[in-house]
């Protein structure tokens, strides 16, 4: 069981454009905010007015508990009206948020190697995961390999932070402007057989098409894989049933689970892509 979420105000420490269209938001939170697990998220209200009406779900990028307060980091892409408003907020501004929410990645105790597969802004929760995996196993830290994909070199975001905790990063760009020319799932497919399924675990977050392709690749492969999915959300608490994710039941039917409460992290094989 995760600790109960809180609805609180955070004060913006900074909100800086890291790479074109991608912002790093740092928020100062009261100490009551619980330490999140990688893969958990918060619902952020970008305005107290009624447009946009709903809070935006955002994965937790980093978290640090300090004396008297905590610092929460969000790494976000300007995707529409709400994130555009967010990108205009200044240090000192306050915003309401709800969290930490959902089930994070569950650490696989057996795995000695973590394979991270990130598409676009999906790098955010995986960076938090990588940061939390590396020190846990001292003096035998988990080895990590990250596949990071973007459309082109300019859209690659968050590499600095990830490379500090995971030196083995394999970059893919759709247009070949940096690293492997093609999709992350293509490069991963080529290298898949080099990983020992016994000691490895895959963690992925990215566009739906990427995760769907990954599900196909792993269908006949024993590697365990957890994915963090995105769905539209209203409450973030499991109450509205708005964030339905189609999963396969043991009986072979399709049922709907809640991305916010039953996820956002799921076993990739459970989801009906």
């Amino acid at each position: 069981m995760h600790p109960v979420p809180l609805f609180i105000k955070g004060r913006i420490l900074d909100n800086l454009e890291a790479v074109r269209g991608h912002f790093l938001l740092r928020l100062k939170l009261p100490p009551a905010f619980h330490h999140p697990v990688p893969g958990q998220f918060v619902m952020i209200r970008v305005t107290e007015s009624q447009t946009p009406l709903l809070a935006r779900p955002m994965s937790i990028y980093a978290f640090e508990k300090g004396a008297g307060h905590s610092v929460l980091e969000i790494f976000y892409r300007v995707a529409g009206a709400g994130t555009r408003i967010l990108s205009g907020l200044k240090p000192g501004d306050e915003l309401s948020l709800l969290g930490p929410l959902g089930n994070g990645f569950s650490g696989n105790q057996e795995a000695r190697r973590a394979i991270l597969i990130a598409g676009g802004i999906g790098i955010s929760p995986l960076t938090f995961l990588a940061a939390s995996l590396s020190p846990i196993r001292e003096p035998f830290p988990v080895e990590m390999t990250a596949y990071v994909g973007a459309q082109r070199k300019e859209a690659l975001a968050g590499l600095d932070r990830l490379s500090a905790v995971c030196p083995d990063i394999r970059i893919c760009t759709d247009d070949g402007s940096m690293g492997y020319g093609g999709r992350v799932t293509e490069l991963f497919e080529r290298e898949l057989d080099a990983f020992d399924p016994q000691g490895c675990a895959v963690y992925a977050c990215g566009p739906r098409a990427m995760m769907k392709r990954l599900a196909e690749l792993l269908e006949k492969h024993p590697l365990p894989c957890q994915v963090s999915v995105e769905e539209r959300m209203a409450c973030g608490l499991g109450a509205c049933l708005g964030c339905a994710v189609a999963v396969r039941t043991p009986g072979g039917d399709v049922a709907f689970m809640r991305a916010c409460k039953d996820g956002p992290v799921f076993d990739i094989r459970r989801i009906d892509w």
Partner: protein, 310 residues
């Protein structure tokens, strides 16, 4: 009796049902209560209305189920729910522990299904009332909503009345030509109260892909965008029926709730507001109390239905 005379009396009667205050949760926006228990002392609510229940569990619609519109939210959840039997077994024991009135919201695809759901809930221990959602399509009548015809609405009311002695609130659909006509019809068929409004039918289009935003194409609009419509309908119905009216639709803050009470709603339900702020019900309750105190009104009954002429 409250010990201090400064503390206004907030209790209201909805027909046979007595509530400690007029702030209730709207069905489908508060889950089965437990989801909001970390934020709201459920014992401080006037009543807790749970997600709509049908005879059998329902899977609901595929995603996307939500779309945001200016000051509004479109949803097409498709009445997903665990079914009435699982509710009684798995959710009611938790809710029964609270002293708050627990109200089950029910629906069916046939008149008989309404009756069966009401029978099962009538025998369960721990419920204070039923709220009957008649916005649901009648499969036997080509899918027109029960709530869109006075005759069908009356038929459902009678069937539920036969099935149980629990106080019965008929929840009206705004997607009709004359809502007060439907209200009169369910009143004569035996309803103890009416609640209104359910969501307004709407849709949204993604112009890049020229596709509906919702998988279901159409959905129900809620939130601040519908409040003026809801308020007008409540006012109309209050002037036409003698049974208590519960007002809802876009209530976000104390002022919104006060508007409904002043036009004559005996109680209010808070829906979409809880999504933006999980403490919304309590903020609204406290705001009503502050208003009464500031206006030296010692009993909320002295505020309800006091709309002056323009």
């Amino acid at each position: 009796m409250r010990p201090s005379s400064l503390q206004p009396s907030l209790s209201v009667d909805i027909g046979p049902l007595s509530l400690r205050n007029p702030v209730m949760t709207a069905s489908g926006t508060f889950g089965y209560g437990e989801e909001y228990a970390p934020f709201v002392d459920l014992n401080r609510l006037g009543a807790l209305i749970v997600k709509g229940l049908s005879l059998e569990p329902r899977a609901g619609n595929p995603p996307p189920r939500l779309a945001e519109t200016p000051s509004g939210l479109l949803n097409a959840v498709g009445l997903q729910n665990i079914g009435v039997k699982a509710f009684v077994k798995e959710k009611l024991p938790f809710l029964k522990e609270y002293s708050t009135a627990i109200i089950a919201n029910i629906f069916g695809e046939t008149v008989d299904e309404y009756g069966k759901v009401a029978e099962i809930l009538g025998m369960a221990d721990g419920l204070s009332a039923l709220e009957v959602n008649i916005s649901c399509p009648n499969v036997k009548k080509g899918g027109i909503a029960f709530g869109s015809s006075p005759e069908m609405a009356a038929e459902v009311t009678k069937r539920v009345r036969e099935a149980t002695d629990l106080p019965m609130i008929m929840k009206l659909s705004p997607n009709v030509t004359d809502i007060s006509h439907i209200a009169e019809s369910v009143e004569s068929a035996g309803a103890d109260a009416v609640s209104l409004i359910n969501t307004l039918a709407g849709m949204a289009v993604d112009v890049e892909h020229r596709k509906p935003v919702l998988y279901n194409v159409t959905g129900g609009l809620s939130g601040p965008a519908i409040k003026p419509v809801a308020l007008r309908m409540v006012w109309q119905v209050v002037n036409r029926v003698n049974i208590p009216v519960i007002g809802l639709g876009g209530i976000m803050c104390p002022n919104d709730a006060l508007e409904f009470l002043i036009v004559g709603a005996r109680a209010v339900e808070v829906g979409t507001a809880s999504f933006l702020n999980p403490h919304a019900t309590m903020n609204i309750l406290e705001g009503i109390e502050t208003y009464l105190r500031e206006h030296s009104i010692s009993d909320i009954g002295d505020l309800i239905g006091t709309l002056e002429r323009p």
